[in-house]
């Protein structure tokens, strides 16, 4: 028998890193992108099958962070996991990602994360080097390179996070 689980997944990142494009690659949607600008969040859904479990990912696409407007991390409450998206061509977005991660960790403690380096199709402009990412890898952060344009790595990024969320759920599920 298939178990159906719902998970709240948040998309974080600086403005213009391609969060919405990544989500659009991946999901079914009913709300328009205008919600992002008005409410600061847009919710989409993606169902994935992992073994005997059907996982319904509720993707909270949060408004990108700028220097004038901080992302509302309150939206992370109750999140099962989150993706932090970085623009491979702009190192500043990596700094934003780090600051977001700190705030996210306090809003959703213990939730697994995946660092997504997007726009890797722009090979000649890549600024976020392996060297910059090494300390994060050392911290145990899973890092996935994606291209929302070509679709490269998108499934992998979401599925990887889904698996880790399922792994943290499993003991509790068994306990019940």
């Amino acid at each position: 028998m298939t178990t159906v689980l719902q998970k709240k997944v948040c998309m974080l990142g600086a403005v213009g890193v391609g969060k919405t494009s990544l989500v659009r690659r991946f999901v079914e949607s009913i709300f328009s992108d205008r919600y992002l600008a008005t409410v600061g969040v847009k919710i989409d859904r993606k169902s994935v099958n992992l073994g005997a479990t059907q996982l319904s990912l509720m993707l909270w696409d949060l408004q990108g962070e700028t220097e004038h407007q901080q992302t509302r991390v309150e939206y992370l409450r109750g999140a099962g996991g989150y993706l932090i998206v970085v623009d491979a061509t702009r190192t500043s977005t990596l700094e934003t990602a780090l600051s977001l991660q700190q705030r996210a960790a306090s809003a959703a403690p213990g939730a697994p994360l995946t660092l997504v380096i997007n726009k890797v199709d722009l090979a000649d402009q890549i600024a976020v080097s392996d060297a910059l990412l090494e300390p994060l890898r050392a911290r145990g952060w899973p890092i996935v390179r994606t291209s929302a344009r070509s679709g490269l790595g998108v499934e992998e990024a979401f599925l990887g996070l889904a698996q880790r969320m399922l792994a943290t759920t499993a003991p509790l599920a068994e306990e019940r």
Binding site: T3, I43, Y75, G78
Partner: protein, 573 residues
Amino acid sequence: MTPEVQAPKRAEPPRSDPPRVDPSGPPASAPDALARLRGIILGRERDAIRRLERKLEDPDALSPVVERALTASVRRDPKPLADALFPVMGPAIRRAISQALAGMMQSVNQALEHTFSLRGLAWRWEAIRTGTSFAEVVLRHSLLYRVEQVFLVHRESGLLLQHVTTPSTAAQPPDMVAGMLTAIQDFTRDSFGVAQEEMLETMQVGELTVWVEQGARTLLAAVIRGHAPYEFRGELQRAIEAIEGEHANELLRFQGDASPFLRSRPTLDALLLMEAREPDRRAPWRTYGLLTVAVLLLAVLLVPRFLRERRWHAYLDRLRDEPGIIVTDAGKQNGHYVVRGLRDPLARDPATLLADQRLEAGTVTGRWEPYVALLPQFILSRATRALAPPPTIGLRLVADTLVATGAGSDAWFARARTLAPALAGVGSLSVERRQPRELPQLLPLVSAVESHRILFPTGVALLDSAGSSEVTAIAADVARLDSVARGLGLTLQLTVIGSADDQGNADANEWLRLQRADALRGRMGPSLPPGIEIGAEPAPADATPAISDAERALRRAATVRADLALPPEPVIP
């Protein structure tokens, strides 16, 4: 197995029963021995600790103690407990009071609305206007609200726990809607800086309202079409309490598995079932009642007025039809009817016509100017008054000629000739004079009396039996004639005429004639009405001789002649 609970390091634990039973057995290993030692020394304390632990895990066992502790604390000083509870109770109490007030306001509003029930009348008008039945309109309007969807949402994550919807509702994927609902809750809370426990309770878009109620870990959102009563909030709150009570454990450990919340479906379905409000059936009856009262009031006020008005107009019509009356003006003055016009003095009195129309005598005042009406009946009336014709004279009008027909004195006719042309409406007088016996009402009666003939045998002047019975018949005819003649003011005079044939001696015949007349007169006299003069005379001798015996027999007879005399002319002073 912590060092703290290890037994104090004394030489050997005192031996218990088993070694005594089996002294030859191998000595126990060190840990076993230690455990045994601990069992011996601390056994009772360990049991006590275990009992305490069990007690602590069992809330039922603890509750008497907690209750006693709370009671004691409150009795000593209620303030610390009140302070501790205030942050929890305060907002809850405030909300409960505001909901109760809002509910009360709504019911007061409704009560007012129904008391005056203008809405009922408006609905009736709408039914007439649109051509639908009144019942349909009431139903359409009194379906005050319909709960179309209910979302049970995990508050923290915004994940959907359960969702129910009415069959006809087209719903978006509820899990995404639920997420957005919570996102909007967060958004409003953060945007307007309200406290964490406050929330967006109502969202309204046109006819749709979303009511949100929250519990400790869940929130319940009901999508309502129309205007729900405030009591429905209470229903939502009770549903949340029931669900959170039943699913306390699942909510505490919620990791995204919504399947246990399938059990909450009946509770949520019950909220959907409260969709239609019974149409208020009293409203139409109240309207009927009001309408009836209004109609009765109007009737009481207007019907007598209407009837009086109708009678007044009927009276005026009757006056206009009445000969000799000309209505020139009619109207109301100070609530009193007044009619003005011309009236011939010979016309009917207008006041006598009031009774015909069932109008009271005092309600109408007539102001009449006299005039002379030249209608034929009025000309005749006036002529009759002026000329005073005797009953034997009839007056009639042919164009403007007054025709006087009948028997009358010379003096009367002379006066009529003088007066008639002076009468209004009479151009000339035409006279058709008759003898009294020629008057149409008398002529047949006179003929009847004169047609009797008493026959005698030759040379005899005595009545035989046939003659006697003829006398009775004559008397009857005379009585009839006399009665009519008296009515006309005429005096009847009778003359018996005796006849004889031409045979024999002329003197003898002359004697026979007279004798025969006398004989009949003698026989008739007693049987006649009193006051009638009766004479007797012989008929003049016949100039021509009789041709046959039959004719001779007829001549041997006596007959009666009736004369009518006009009354003597009254002496005009």
